[in-house]
């Protein structure tokens, strides 16, 4: 069973290995920047690398993109019918699939992170504030849930648009930026960052990472509350959209 998982998940595991590129990029880019300056927006070279390490780790946890592709593909091929007749809630099915992938990869991700720390000689320092660490964990879980909902949403848009590839790619680019995976949001103009705090992406990866770095500790509670609200909102959006678009479905192909 483990073996078939290995073979099946080969691509996903290579994904873990290839996460090295994110660190490599950060390393090369920021070593050039930090040649000119000691501190950038409160980051030193090593805390910057730590930032990328943690953000990279969190983004690797999110395996829900597969939902977007799977759902839209099944709808296009007319194979979505098989979910509609199952007694299990469709959303719950995909959510648990994603959770399973995340759990499976957790070990590999932790292991990989350890290797990158060693390879790039990162002086890994983390906050020791229990409250912040806990808040970060809660945010990460809520964030993963939100991403599942987001991908599910894009997936069921296939009822109307059929081909959601472009949407998925756009989402990928935009979300990467908004979650702070490309650069710490602290570098952006204050007005931008303030605006972003109303949206969920700020809390999925950026805030947890900053909390673990010992910063932004005053945003713990508000962060959790806002993300919970967004999760609820999207839960409703998904339910409504699904009901509305389902009627368009042809069931062509089967």
């Amino acid at each position: 069973m483990f073996k078939t998982q290995l073979v099946y998940r080969f691509d996903v595991i290579t994904g873990v290995v290839f996460s090295i590129f994110k660190i490599l990029l950060a390393c090369i880019l920021w070593s050039a920047v930090f040649e000119k300056k000691e501190v950038v927006s409160g980051f030193t070279f090593h805390t910057m690398l730590t930032y990328y390490l943690i953000t990279g780790f969190i983004s690797q946890l999110d395996q829900s993109a597969a939902i977007g592709w799977q759902v839209s593909s099944d709808i296009r091929n007319g194979r979505f019918s098989k979910y509609m007749i199952r007694p299990i809630g469709i959303f719950r099915y995909f959510a648990s699939q994603s959770a399973g992938s995340t759990a499976f990869l957790l070990i590999f991700n932790v292991f990989a992170a350890g290797i990158w720390i060693f390879l790039f000689k990162i002086e890994f320092t983390m906050s020791s504030d229990i409250k912040c660490i806990l808040a970060a964990c809660v945010l990460i879980v809520l964030g993963l849930l939100f991403m599942v909902q987001l991908h599910y949403f894009i997936g069921i848009l296939a009822f109307k648009f059929l081909d959601v590839t472009a949407l998925m790619m756009m989402k990928e680019n935009i979300v990467q930026f908004l979650t702070g995976a490309l650069i710490p949001l602290a570098l952006l103009p204050l007005a931008w960052v303030q605006a972003m705090t109303y949206f969920p992406f700020y809390y999925i990866s950026y805030l947890p990472t900053m909390l673990l770095l010992g910063r932004n500790s005053d945003e713990c509670i508000s962060g959790i509350m806002i993300l919970v609200l967004w999760n609820i909102a999207f839960g409703i959006i998904n339910a409504v959209t699904y009901q509305h678009l389902k009627s368009i479905y042809d069931g062509v192909g089967i």
Partner: protein, 265 residues
């Protein structure tokens, strides 16, 4: 086979692809939307970084924008002409569908490369040119006829380089069954090399990304040329490298064909 005939066939393939989807729907411009967000985001990213520091390596803000714009235009050309054709090759090798391309009296690579011309990506070229103009407006170099011609020449040259690299990667499935991770690797290296100019690489990474997998050259060389920071050696090196890579690609593809196992029906 004469060049004229080759172009005629490419033209016909394009007409056919176009007639398939004439409606200017969202999906027709899908690639345009997807990739323009990519470059837009990159602009934001570097604007943020440059708000904190004056230069990254030897690249100031305008030069960096030129770098981004250069890659954007190479990407646009690739997507318009051959990208969507080439990415189907590994699947065709695996399924045996390649049989029907090999047995036609035209170069199989030609047919495969230009089978999926995507005119919906072409607007990206204009968007990229706009970006380039924006970059140049912030630069202090003098714009001469020679610098423009040279830049265009290098952009086309680097597009050919990208073509070669894509083909080489997709020739590997002739020999290796489980080769999809190589395409993932290609994606990662591309992401890396489109976010930072090649001059930032040091040590072994220099050899890796400027010689063996010269993605690091692609947007760097034309941008450097236009900024006036490209040495003669750099120019000659780039041209020679592309020539070598191109010859190797053609040879490697033919070699791969000989090893085609052709899945049984």
């Amino acid at each position: 086979m004469s060049i004229k005939r080759q172009f005629k066939i490419i033209y016909m393939l394009m007409k056919m692809k176009l007639s398939k989807n004439m409606a200017f729907r969202f999906s027709f411009f899908g690639a345009f939307f997807a990739d323009s967000t990519l470059f837009l985001i990159q602009l934001f990213m570097f604007s943020a970084i440059y708000s904190q520091v004056g230069s990254i390596g030897t690249w100031n803000k305008s030069q960096m924008i030129l770098f981004i714009g250069t890659f954007s235009i190479i990407n646009a050309l690739a997507m318009t002409f051959f990208l969507f054709g080439l990415i189907t090759i590994p699947e065709k090798i695996k399924s045996g569908e390649l049989d029907l391309y090999i047995t036609k009296p035209i170069p199989s690579l030609l047919y495969l490369s230009f089978e999926s011309i995507d005119l919906g990506s072409f607007p990206l070229v204009f968007a990229s040119i706009a970006l380039i103009f924006y970059a140049v407006s912030g630069m202090t170099v003098s714009i001469t006829f020679l610098s423009v011609v040279g830049y265009i020449f290098l952009v086309i040259l680097m597009t050919v380089l990208w073509y070669d690299l894509m083909v080489i990667i997709r020739t590997i499935p002739f020999f290796l069954i489980q080769a999809s991770f190589i395409e993932n690797l290609e994606g990662e290296v591309l992401t890396l090399c489109t976010k930072i100019p090649g001059t930032l690489f040091k040590g072994p990474f220099k050899i890796l990304f400027l010689l063996l997998l010269p993605y690091g050259l692609m947007a760097t060389v034309p941008a450097q040329f236009f900024s006036g920071t490209l040495s003669t050696f750099g120019f000659v090196y780039a041209v020679a490298l592309v020539a070598v890579f191109h010859c190797f690609t053609m040879f490697f593809w033919k070699f791969g064909l000989k090893h085609y196992k052709s899945a049984s029906s």
